[in-house]
Symmetry: D2
Subunit: 432 residues, 4 copies
Amino acid sequence: MIPRYSRPAMNAIFEADNKFRIMLEIEILAAEAMEKNGTIPHGIAAAIRQRGKYDPARIEEIEREVKHDVIAFLTNVAEHVGDEARYMHQGLTSSDILDTTLAVQLTQACDILLKDLDSVLAALKKRALEHQDTLCIGRSHGIHAEPTTFGVKLAGHYAAFRRAYERLVFARGHIASCSLSGAVGTYATVSPDVETYVAEKLGLAVESVATQVIPRDRHAFLVGVMGVIASSIENFAIEIRHLQRTEVREAEEFFSKGQKGSSAMPHKRNPVLSENLTGLARIVRAAVTPTLENVALWHERDISHSAVERTILPDTCIVLDFALNRLAQVIENLMVYPERMKKNLESTGGLVFSQRLLLTLTQNGLSREEAYAHVQKHAMIVWESDGQKNLRHEVLNDATLGPLLKDKADMIFDYQAYIQQAPLIIKRAVSE
Amino acid sequence: MIPRYSRPAMNAIFEADNKFRIMLEIEILAAEAMEKNGTIPHGIAAAIRQRGKYDPARIEEIEREVKHDVIAFLTNVAEHVGDEARYMHQGLTSSDILDTTLAVQLTQACDILLKDLDSVLAALKKRALEHQDTLCIGRSHGIHAEPTTFGVKLAGHYAAFRRAYERLVFARGHIASCSLSGAVGTYATVSPDVETYVAEKLGLAVESVATQVIPRDRHAFLVGVMGVIASSIENFAIEIRHLQRTEVREAEEFFSKGQKGSSAMPHKRNPVLSENLTGLARIVRAAVTPTLENVALWHERDISHSAVERTILPDTCIVLDFALNRLAQVIENLMVYPERMKKNLESTGGLVFSQRLLLTLTQNGLSREEAYAHVQKHAMIVWESDGQKNLRHEVLNDATLGPLLKDKADMIFDYQAYIQQAPLIIKRAVSE
Amino acid sequence: MIPRYSRPAMNAIFEADNKFRIMLEIEILAAEAMEKNGTIPHGIAAAIRQRGKYDPARIEEIEREVKHDVIAFLTNVAEHVGDEARYMHQGLTSSDILDTTLAVQLTQACDILLKDLDSVLAALKKRALEHQDTLCIGRSHGIHAEPTTFGVKLAGHYAAFRRAYERLVFARGHIASCSLSGAVGTYATVSPDVETYVAEKLGLAVESVATQVIPRDRHAFLVGVMGVIASSIENFAIEIRHLQRTEVREAEEFFSKGQKGSSAMPHKRNPVLSENLTGLARIVRAAVTPTLENVALWHERDISHSAVERTILPDTCIVLDFALNRLAQVIENLMVYPERMKKNLESTGGLVFSQRLLLTLTQNGLSREEAYAHVQKHAMIVWESDGQKNLRHEVLNDATLGPLLKDKADMIFDYQAYIQQAPLIIKRAVSE
Amino acid sequence: MIPRYSRPAMNAIFEADNKFRIMLEIEILAAEAMEKNGTIPHGIAAAIRQRGKYDPARIEEIEREVKHDVIAFLTNVAEHVGDEARYMHQGLTSSDILDTTLAVQLTQACDILLKDLDSVLAALKKRALEHQDTLCIGRSHGIHAEPTTFGVKLAGHYAAFRRAYERLVFARGHIASCSLSGAVGTYATVSPDVETYVAEKLGLAVESVATQVIPRDRHAFLVGVMGVIASSIENFAIEIRHLQRTEVREAEEFFSKGQKGSSAMPHKRNPVLSENLTGLARIVRAAVTPTLENVALWHERDISHSAVERTILPDTCIVLDFALNRLAQVIENLMVYPERMKKNLESTGGLVFSQRLLLTLTQNGLSREEAYAHVQKHAMIVWESDGQKNLRHEVLNDATLGPLLKDKADMIFDYQAYIQQAPLIIKRAVSE
């Protein structure tokens, strides 16, 4: 992934150094377990732990010759450990080390992503409570519908990221799997207690049935969950992009001083962070299908999944981490314009009250169809006046409706009625 | 979905009759709750329950005129209910009814899919136990690796479908959501207790924040889980297709009497069910991306998701239901050929024992590199003899290795060593 | 595909009747060719043409028994033809008939889609010329940029659909392939001249190398082209959805009389057709990946692609046909509001002229950086005044800029300057 | 993209140096054209060409401050050019430079990919001619069908890559587009002749209608074509993986001396290159959907596509270039085992002749159904004997069939009959 969309901590997880550190740790832990069950002499694990080193450049050099990454790693470690090294990796197969290492990396990645989600949730909660009563128009189909508050809007996104959090915790559980069962997963050359020991030390579960590899439905499910998170990011990003439109301008991304909006049009403040989040969401989602295609390995395994995982798994974690952080900042720093929200709300001459008007009419004896016809007629007049006419005025002057409504107008044309439940909705969401 | 890939029970869930039945039930339950909280007069719910009927053809007719499906439905029901109908749907918005109905349909669909998974699991468990000790070769890269048992292979698939089951139960929890919160989800026209009442009666949870619609990350997650299940189906299907290859022939799909394999080659028995499962998996997976794209609705909602959901949601449930049932049958009826498995296992002249040989050599003083070089040399000779030479014979006749190995040959060249843990692996898997 | 998104002519292409009609025609033409080269006696083709009939229901019945669709078809035809039938299909394999039939169906589908594109192009051309000079704001990032005309906007979509047309013509050429080469494509049982004859009669090219089947990269490429067309549809749909937003309202979908916008808010006019087009685009795009996955059939072929093609190929053609027609209607009937366009254009107090202002300043001695700083300062004041201030007034009253600009203001703040090339752009696009 | 899957020439196209070189060239050419039409003074273009330099590190530094990549580039170039720089980029917008640069990069990438395809085609042609008459079994459903030659199999892949070549040439034409039309594409600040001049010098076509950006359906179509190529690569890779299976072993990837197949099983020769190609194909295909999603930019453009293009466009070109080269090498060096092919062919006791047998029987008076029944009976006996029985022997000893067939056996059971058209098929394919 290009540095532009990377953050150091997530990046480090997928760098050679972290990978080899985990691989070495697994070999050491496996040696400890094998010492315990008597498969290898005592002192091996300690020797590896003491003298075991690896040099990514040297490993690459060896790999060019032997064309096998784990053999290259073991050879390099053996160069430092010396004679005891021949007891290392005994009875294990390359996939045991590689797949368990990947499982550790992915749980590390999940932990960062869960923290990222925490930041997003904290920012959303703070802004939702801040704007609990900030009146604005709710829109369906891009068309003004009824009033709501900006806090309620944010609470909806909060709830989506809460679900994201739950799903990621669940998926982390499904990826945190340790497999040390030897060739084709039969434990023919390694006792099951080695796996149990290593799994416990690494905080992983024992793979129930490994077919040499950890089954790829685990990885596909994790990436699937990431894809859903990406779509929720896109959902928020598109909200901001809409609100920042010139005609709407209810909110804007924070615009720093030196920043230039356009080389030709100096005044332009573009929602570039949110647009970028939209694009990053597409990148993350694109990972879902190839990881699904990786599930159907041939027989006990083939290696077709490897190229996908070498590139797409790190990239996806890195981009999602970056996107969640950018999202948290966008939320944190979002500039909100309550006055503009009010102005937009009022721009349709009270049409937003049409449903309350409709309900009042049906509660006062009109059939749904009659009420609908009456209200539609006046609503269309107001709508087509483009802000010049007002629904309250129109219906009160209607020969039929006027008498019915004259005592009820204040009750009907009342914004507060729409947002009285806002505190409840927000509280319910953010305390879950 | 074309009838070829449909089963009646799943099909029925997505037919007009079931949809309108649920919609009517929601309206009735909502009316009950509104009577309780005094919003509407007593007796409305009972009247609707007694006289409420719907006629899909009539609804379609009305919809052609009003171009609105829920209004068409309500109009048709009102034609049967009479005057009380005007209290029906009060304060609700179309999405309240449509989305809660869809949630009910999808939980019904999940329940069928969970039963399907039960059938698959039962079949896999039965056949895994039956073939617990059926010796066969394990393959990596399509190349013979080491012996395993056919039961272990099946247990691996069992474990994958167990995970599928867990994920689907989890996703069912995330889709079982009831939203009756009115336009833009503010409860401005309907009290929250109506939603609570209806949710409880329907066995759903209350949507934490609805933005008029139930948020689409719920649906995307469910379909994502289905995509992973489809990939596990493909994984099994490809295994069978491999095993049925002419050169392998370790297993075959059941071939019924009248069935014709090929219009030109009468003897051919093709793994057509498993090939079909591969194709069906592609169809299910294809649903993942559009449902992810559905998440980012504009503001409180738009209607772009509707076309996708009308077609792809039912199709995906229907195809997955069909595929899981076909899969259960393939497993149940699979013809397994242990003798052929044995023959294939032996076809490489004992090369499958190379790792045990390697380990014995390193345990007897050779370095890993020396042992590897020795074994590789003989292994290549045997491999290139195409079944004419035998590894045991070769190494026992080697000047260096022969003396080292002569007492250990029976121990090394022993199939049982590879499969001694098979009962444990299978038991552990199927009792989870 | 559900009837809601189907049109009869495209639907008919994929119905049993058309399929069997083509299959029978291929068998007859093949028989004619075989008579010519002496493989079968004279009179067979004529007999089949005279008495050859098929009954979809009967074929289905036979298929249930023999589990083979082509044998079922041949058996049914033979029931009508009688003794001569045994010369039918001689030396051919099922895929020869099925794949050539599918090629004919897909070229028929392409022909309809090309006509659909013609309608879209015609509508776009008409409306583009109509609005050649209709001034409106061009937007980047959703933010007002500089003026353009509505005709130019439409011309851009015209150009995209012209490219779509070219690509579909090209893809039609790649799918119009005839394969009659027998089992595994070796012509061992059928002479190449049979294929040549049938291909010519059907207006198809001879498949260069068939591996029993017509290679699936042909189908994948066609569906890929459809996916790009779908995305261009989405591009237009999103434009309309934006223009119809309450705050923008520069255009609206035609709203018919009886139509109801919302069950709760009678005035609402929602861009439901364009939203639907967005959703339909997702459905079409979802077909791309499974057809790509279909390419890698095993060896000379397997049958995994069949399930995908039975469902997704017809559905994709049908939905795309429906979407293109809906699109043509949306364009044809689109209500355009030039006054509102003008009002929006002016809503930013002349900021849209900032680049012309910038250029004038740099042409009159200021460095780019100086000019940018000056213009940005005033632009921000105007921007933040929310329509109260005006850029022309501000800069003319600036101590530094005023004297520089006083003679040039009319030239700078002139909408015509932006749209003088509109006729050229539109003419160039629509006459291509 | 990680270095493991990169080749230098393709990599260089997407490095900063090449990008800035093209950007500078466009600015210079634009200045030349503007000098011609009198917009800017003479000598500017020469000055930029002479002194114009860029320093990626310095540009990055400036970009961190101004947060705008093109302004950063122009500022850096101006630092070298001096005063004349203020005439540079006049009337242009950032997208003009960025999108035309990207178009140049992508045509460069296409040119490399076309050369790659040439290598693949050359290798396939050579090996197809070499194995024109190498007899082997053709398989459908993974099951032996009828004989073919290995050359015919390769010719099929040759034809697929010929189509790939044609499509890529076509797509190159659609991406080779130059847009220099200023903000929102109206030529308000730049004369159309500048674009015409630059386009001609760069070997590009003039964009018919740019909406500030070059429309993204062009990029989506190109990536779609790459996705189909990737699937054809996968198709070949899976063929090799099948042929190299232990039970099949008709071909093997070249296995270099030092290479180690498995850390535990020294003899194993795994088709790792072909498995890798399968995985790389998944990576390339994954690019198709996000580039399709990029098409629907908002209004005249947004910037959501940028993140996708910065990462996925280079990665896709780089991976596809790498994969095509690897593929050419796999083909070039493939080890083919004709004896093993013959052995497999004969392993089914002559069942491969069943269709010829069937045809002979129908040509000698049996109905298709009778013939089918007879042949199926004997075929099943032979099939179930697992190589012990022979179809020729069986039918000649059949009381009914024996007399009918005794003079025709040599003609029926003749491999040459199946492959007599092989030279024609191959010649026709490779000379296209």
